[in-house]
Chain length 440, copies 2
């Protein structure tokens, strides 16, 4: 099993800023930080938020042990005063945000972190790492699942991304609509359905393909999926049904013209009486390849590289920005940076999605003084997009673990169905609804 | 600190194949597996290998604890016989491969794993995850470093990739020629130089930019780097020098037209007497943006998104293939799959690079029977590309830890300088040398 703290999975400047603010007193100022992206990847219609549950897991693990503190002290990253503060560090602030599986758009405030400057700053890098990667994978997964229609998509991408990212990708792919993963650690940690077939080396290590198939069926039963493209596919399918009989669970094709091969293999299986034997295809699939296979007799898709690398968009460009903070007078004041092309909208935000005839027609991001926000009345049919995750340090456990992932999986399908159908198109274009930012 | 085993960071089928082969006896067959890529990312001239040292670290950590074994048993991933074998699992095979920092090309056998089928199979997913991601980052880093010429490049990308991938990316970026990283855990684990400036929120949480600069200098000294684009850059530079004096270490610009702004800021700093104050630029830099800044008075580059996502190529498409195995007669026999477009070259490989006038002109991959390989005589000027990493389970520790990373860092520069200079061009094209595969 795994045991670690994410406390140092962060940019050094989070700690040096904390230290400077400890010295001048601003570390204790109340703050509101906001996570959002300025734009979706080019041509994408929507994004799917994922990773929030992992942030909550990370908060629980977040502590500095003696070795970490010694490292920070020896390297003079922070001063002894800050070391002392860090010894008992525990996030005591509050977090709201979009649900996992919720759609997001440019300027959607997908996460809001409220607390002291010191404690919120320490979370910046970690929060962004998690949301940027997980949401990139979930967003790609969602497009693939749409292209696959009712056929299940399975994550087989672990080998094409960092070994820990693979675990996060498996989880995010399920949030994004996938049905299972090849990754065992993801299955162990999150209770996800683990799936698998066999590799070419399994056939090659045996003296014949027949021996290999017999061995796999002896170990895993007739419902297993046999890999049939190590040598000659037609011969392999023949052998597979000879060995397993018509009850053979499935075959996998991993090379060549997948549509044409699936058609040939389907006809061959049917002729052999194996009419219920499923066909799984793999081989650098992405949402476009899956869409192109719609008319082919394929039963499920194993997706690798393009899933775990976000299908051309391996990150979401999410940023973590201070939008409001306590001033010297103790009053909360909105703040904004004015950097060219990167200016921020000041103030804490409310976020709603409005609907017409049951279809979303806009994202409403509302900012203003705390007084005005408190008395703001959204329209009846608006959906409040912000749910509470952490209340003064208390994590709401309903957003963690297996059940939360499966609820997010279901929620994504529902939320996507409520968007204009253009969202389900693979045609490049603008975000399918616009984000209206207003200041009260 | 971190403590974990990577034993379940793998696709389930590695364990189910092991189990089937335990039952039929082939798990004990001696095997040779090979890692290679069939192609470089489109237009790339070379790749830079990284991650091998992390594979050795992972081998040391690789064990299954009671919880892992119970998981595999409860889920019926493997049978009780295999659980027993896994209880004491320790890789007892041998590994050779390219050095970290070495250039690789299509079909370069960057890693060779020899051992029983069972033990080699369990490593497949993990080995590929590490090499595919780390080499993607190192390959991108190397192009950026070339574009930056003598100016240092620093990794600031952790927030744009998975939080663990961030640590691997920091390490791989240094193998690829970077000088340091913002990532604290990478600094702690690998002794890498940690660097950092400040974020916009640091300026915003203070009552004025001047207060923020004073605070940072009080905490970190005048040699620190101040972020000057939160409000108005010209005003910020004025304030920065007022506060720190001409000894100010540096300023960072994170938005706008970086070349034009660097020029203005340089002139302003010089006019204020701060002639030694360095200018760092950041903001979605990639190798092309860095090349475009060659004539601008920039002193260092902070690179984020495009580094940790491989600058358009977030994985290397490396595969792990069985090339030779013991047969029923106990003799080693080359094997190959014949899948369309994915056939493999059978047999264990030797690998050399040949030179003419001190410049590499080809990669030579030599295969054949063990007898013929044993008596093969490379030409005098050929470089043997395979170094021994693990000998019958014994890891050669010289390839692990900080010193190994810095040697790889130096080695990359040397190996790149020995390639035709076209390799250093950002123009898209074919691999700069070709790989000649021959069978003895």
């Amino acid at each position: 099993m795994v045991d670690y703290s994410p406390a140092l999975m962060t940019d050094m400047y989070e700690y040096t800023m904390l230290d400077a603010c400890m010295k001048d007193g601003t570390a204790n100022r109340k703050c509101v930080f906001e996570v959002f992206t300025r734009h979706l990847p080019a041509g994408r219609r929507y994004g799917v938020l994922a990773g929030t549950g992992r942030i909550l897991d990370a908060l629980e693990r977040f502590h500095l042990d003696d070795e970490d503190l010694r490292f920070l002290a020896d390297r003079k990253v922070v001063s002894p005063q800050t070391i002392k503060w860090l010894e008992n560090f525990r996030f005591s602030g509050s977090i709201k945000g979009y649900r996992e599986g919720e759609m997001f758009f440019p300027n959607s405030p997908v996460l809001q972190i409220e607390g002291t400057f010191g404690e919120c700053t320490l979370l910046e890098t970690l929060v962004l790492s998690i949301l940027n990667y997980d949401s990139a994978v979930a967003s790609a997964a969602s497009r693939m699942v749409t292209a696959a229609k009712d056929r299940p998509c399975m994550d087989m991408g672990g080998r094409r991304t960092n070994e820990w990212a693979a675990v996060a990708a498996a989880r995010a792919s399920v949030v994004g609509g996938f049905q299972g993963t090849a990754n065992l650690l993801a299955s162990q940690l999150y209770g996800l359905k683990a799936i698998g077939t066999a590799a070419h080396c399994f056939t090659l290590v045996h003296d014949s393909e027949k021996n290999a198939f017999e061995s796999q069926i002896a170990a895993l039963g007739k419902n297993t999926t046999l890999l049939v493209d190590t040598y000659n596919i037609e011969q392999a399918v023949q052998t597979a049904v000879e060995v397993a009989g018509p009850e053979l669970g499935g075959v996998r094709i991993d090379s060549g013209d997948l549509a044409a091969l699936a058609q040939r293999v389907r006809n061959q299986l049917d002729a052999l009486g194996a009419t219920n034997t499923r066909i799984t295809v793999t081989n650098d699939l992405d949402e476009y390849a899956i869409a192109a296979l719609q008319t082919a007799p394929v039963d499920s898709y194993g997706v690798g590289t393009m899933l775990v690398t976000g299908s051309g968009a391996p990150t979401c460009a999410m940023v973590y920005k201070l939008t409001e903070r306590e001033g010297a007078d103790g009053a909360m004041a909105p703040v904004m940076k004015k950097s060219k092309d990167k200016a921020t909208v000041p103030g804490r935000k409310l976020a709603y999605r409005s609907y017409e005839y049951g279809l979303a027609d806009a994202e409403h991001v509302v900012s203003g003084s705390e007084d005005k926000l408190a008395s703001f009345q959204p329209k009846d049919e608006w959906k409040d997009l912000l749910v509470p995750y952490v209340d003064h340090g208390q994590i709401d456990a309903q957003w963690q673990g297996h059940d939360a992932i499966m609820r997010a999986h279901d929620y994504r399908a529902k939320a996507l169905a409520e968007l204009p159908i253009t969202a389900q198109s693979l045609m490049k274009g603008d975000p399918v609804i616009s984000t209206e930012v207003s200041v009260l």
